[in-house]
Amino acid sequence: MDVELIIDDAAVTAPDGSSVLDAARRAGVDVPALCHHEAVPAIASCRLCLIEVRRPGRDWVQLTTSCDYPVSAGLVVVTDSPRIRKHRAMNLQLLLRRAPGAPVLQRLAAKLGVTEPLFAPVADAAMQDCILCELCVRVCSTLGYNALAAIGRGEHKHVGPPFGQTAAADCVGCGSCVEVCPTACIPMADTTATRTIWGRTFDLQACERCGRPITTKAHAEAMAVAAELPAKSDELCDACKKRVLSERLASPGR
């Protein structure tokens, strides 16, 4: 069911229960949110996706995060204001301290007019450029591998394989964590035949048809098991699957 709400004076329709962040983005408003991914639960960690909301029938306005705020009928949302920019800029300064060179933070800094860092880069962080958004942990957990943990708390919180493993025992090398990491701080090295990530080296599965690597063999096996299919060794990459399918459709005497 859809509900109607106001975002920046414009009426917007969004599915009931979706987040104001998603509704705003779908309406074309660019609200920054580094720790957000539609496939995993929101934890509102980065504190950048600030909005101001007023509930219908109330007269007070609340400054709050939008990734974990559900839409509801009659909600009035403002995505830009001096107050939003001031606090977004300060939280950005805190993030810059952890990931001074990260392109996404640099771009946001330019947009907000943040030219000088307020704080010296953090010393002795467990993982350089990590902003502790836990996207890697949440994605790995959602996919069912649970190879990564959020460890410790407070400013010494960090992410990584549990038990201090230098090689992540439950990792299958799918690389999803790398894909979602906002600051690209997870090292992953691919050769034509192998992938090294989280201290492990995996064999890559090559496409039978074109020879390009698809994913790791461990990942392919895990997916096959999850789909309750026998593990196939004659895998095709997505591009080749499409080509084979279109060839079959186009061939005469089908």
């Binding site: 509102a44 960690s45 400054l63 995060t65 001031k86 953090v122 502790l132 708390r153 407070g154 010494h156």
Partner: protein, 617 residues
Amino acid sequence: MTVKLADPGALARHREALAAIRSPERSVIAVCVGTGCRANGAIDVYEALRVEVEARGGARDVESRATGCQGFCQGGPLLLLLPEGIVYQHVRVKDVPEIVEKTVLGGEIVERLLYVDPPTDLQCRREEEIPFYRHQQRTLLRDNGLLDPTSIDDYIALGGYSALSKALDMGPEAVLEEVKRSGLRGRGGAGFPTGRKWEACRKAEGELKYVVCNADEGDPGAFMDDALLEGNPHCVLEGMIIGALAMGAREGHVYVRQEYPVAVDRITHAIEQARELGLLGEAILGSELSFDLRVSRGGGAFVCGEASAMMASLEGRRGVPRRRLIHLSDKGLWGRPTNLNNVETWANVPQIVLKGADWYSSIGTEGSTGTKIFSLVGKVHNTGLVEVPMGTTLREIVFGAGGGVPGGKAFKAVQTGGPSGGCLPADKLDVPVDFDTLVAEGSMMGSGGMIVMDEDTCMVDVAKYFLRFLASESCGNCTSCRDGLAILHDLLGDITEGRGTRETIALVEELADTVEATSLCALGTSAVNPVRSTLRYFREEYLAHVDDKRCPAAVCKALIRFSIDAERCNGCTLCALRCPQDAIAGVKKQLHSIDQELCIKCGICKDVCNRDAVLVR
């Protein structure tokens, strides 16, 4: 084998039977073995007493009883002799034979063990003569001195569980109405109207509902809940059972911080006893109410005092709070309707049911009814637990019950509300304490911790202390709290170590704004209160640190120096011998001197000097 009490009538008969064998004239020597006194050797005193009584008066009607915290911690180890109500303080094992001989058997007073009121030098024999007790209204704490917390019979004999009988008779709606009308507000810190919270849970959809007791008591310096759980666990239980009745809850948890092992033992034992008698479990006292409780321990995290973080902990997850757009009374523990209340809140419930909302709301102020237990600690004579009606002034608490600041030092501030609260200066001493007045002054009641500070306390150091605590307790979810508090602590470190400027203060204020405005939970949003309130009331102290590089209270090491007073030093060499850095030079019987290059300002020389010859400026 204990027989379950089949109905309220059976409970009443059990109580009568206990009264019949417990003569009101019998002598009871109540020894406080609460955590504070226990740490001071009270167990040995109790054991000695028990042995002595058995050897001498065992045949007579004399009972030695180990009680929970009686609240007068300054006088510990503490003895209360009933029925006379005589209080002996600072009791040692060697005093025990004399106490038994002279007082218990002979009816005479051992004068040197009496409390002496400093201003008047009057000896006080009985509790009600001692100013510490006289300034209190001990509705909740009184029974702590009267019962053995490991005995359910003691509790029942004092009238315990009669509120439950009455509640079962009244029915859930009437009980809820009574709690609503009483005006009871949550004692954990937020002060939310309890009746409204209960009603929301009662109305929530769902067959399985939970009640939870928040015994995480993380505010450092606050130990009211510990005293209640250690000293009178059944009154908390009774409150929870009545709550379960009113809200339709079937299961409950008592979440106790792991730093309170005695409290864990007491409440666990109390639950077992209650179950045995049929006061917990199926068909309580023969009624339709079925309710049972489990005890869960915390793992050591202040943030788990926050309701949603506590529930995460109870679900086997990291104690990370979640935002509450849906109330926990609708979707709390395991996604089910849950009512969470603080220990002291639950403890108030039996009396509200028994004596009625009109009685309860006649105590305190209009907006904050009832009494509140405060943990009065720090630079104060009478450190301990003080229970007063809401609306009592800070002055009456600190100087009346507390006896003021020791050592002739000047009062400087009182910190209320724990790490979420603020520091109030001397000109606020006449503020009547209730939920709303303290907020208006820039602090809050919090759970009841009240830390007294004097002229030797540096308020910048205090703000830094709270930031260190909160930064280490942050769950780490929010950038603003996790990193903001760490940086605020660093900035305050700059100020206390002589590197601060006016710009540092400006940055502190700016960053504090964002931490408060954009953190998800109350740990973050209220973390700025200590620094904000000290900047508000003690700004000149901050300015001394940044403008003059001076610490007026002579606390901040980088800004003070230790030296030896030529007038007082007698050259005894004690300081030089004890100095860990070998920084003190001097010949025997001649003036000693401290090498500033080597001195690390540890303060040992000042501690050991018998001539008070070490100057700190």
